[in-house]
Amino acid sequence: MKAFSLEGHAALVTGSSQGIGAAIAQGLEDCGAAVVRHGLQDMPGSVAYVPCNLSVISAPAQLIDSAFALQPALDTLICNAGSFFDTPFLEMTATEWEKTISLNLRATFFLAQAFAKKRLTLGGGGSIVIVSSTNGFQAEADSVAYDTSKGGLVMMIRSLAVSLAPHGIRVNGIAPGLIRTPLTGTWMESRADDLLKHYEKKILLGKVGQPSDCAGAVAFLCSPAASYITGEIITIDGGLTTSQIGKL
């Protein structure tokens, strides 16, 4: 299993108190990595966990500092924290737009920058995985801010990969499709129509994904088995976007 082993590696996973982030953190630990977790809420009693609101401008750099304080040889960053704040397009306010962009895009950029600065003081090297979405390249109605932020992450992954390659830092992404999480579960249950049925019909593998479906791809991208992979985005959607999703 050497090729996929993460023994001796240490990772920060943002947004890992629940959902996809929690599964990614568990997957990295299962492959041998030490993991620092992050979430918005305080979690009294938890170790190697740093709470903060990444929408605050200074928070990303502070989170990186805290993570390196816990794991001085931290070499892996998983930018998973993100959310969905869209309202119907014609009702969207600047404040709601900013909520999406500040968390999904700005925080991710400055996490990567602060991480890279630390890695350079340690001689470079390392791996970043950013969680985008199939909404980063296939659009959904009344999801303009979210789709824009995830599309921005698609290009951020590619652009960071080129910028950080000379320092030996690989940057890759995953693009989950419809995965059942606390975030999407609430949304799916709030819809009285046949939305879920439509999706299950469109997902080739016939089912909505589980958070654990995202863990293997992230562990692979962080491992020695992916040493020649950078700027790549692995879509994890059961085939949802292999043909058109179409009208819901």
Binding site: M1, K2, A3, F4, S5, G27, D30, C31, G32, R158, A161, V162, A165, P166, R170, L204, L205, G206, G209, Q210, D213, C214, A215, G216, A217, A219, F220, S223, P224, A225, A226, S227, Y228, I229, T230, G231, E232, I234, T235, I236, D237, G238, G239, T241, T242, S243
Partner: protein, 252 residues
Amino acid sequence: MSTPFSLQNRDIWVIGGAGYLGQEVVNLLTELGASVLCVDLSGKAQNGPQVTAVDLDAADIPALENFVTAQIAARGVPHGLVVMTYASTAKKFDDLTAADFDYANHGNLTATFTLARAIGNVMAERGSGSLVLFSSMYGTVSPDPSIYEAPMNPNPVEYGVGKAGIQQLTRYLAVHFGKSGVRCNAISPGPFPNPNIQRDQPAFIERLSQKVPLGRVGQSPEIAGAVAFLVSDASTFITGQNLAVDGGWTVW
């Protein structure tokens, strides 16, 4: 340590498994616990622990069909099929005849389609399986003629045309077989020049490396992880994808 990358009790068929990249794929799959049917042109594949060698010219369609029937009878339906074969003429652009072009398309596309459909159908009857087809960065972007100095020929047109076709074949098969639980994905290697070229053409290797964000060409073991990932339980919700293993070649 339990990880989803284990291939214990899996049977994986690797077509082109004795080639420069194929050997590394076979090595990693067996290291992860798989039994491997290593298939290549006459006399190239070798038996080994967990490895059974078979001779086959995949472009010979009747032989290919006999091979599928015989091996399913002997080994059962495989868990994974990896197709790494390709055809190319190495001719210059203006010297390529229509027959040459047909020959390459037959080897690259017709043979891959025939094999993947036959194995995909029996996997679908069982309700599970993973097909991994090999495309290339030259199925995504065109070669850059300026990096080839005479007497080298630029990477030939028929090669990239076939590799681009593999990307669409992958999506089509993913959709066709998806509801039956059979996944289909592609891998697009970047520059993995063989050891002879790496040794004899240092200036060419330098020009290639300059085109890669990671600043170097790939080494053969670096292709194997992507194959192992795509045939393993770590990728059970991934289908229809094309995974670039190219050091970032297609990113900029």
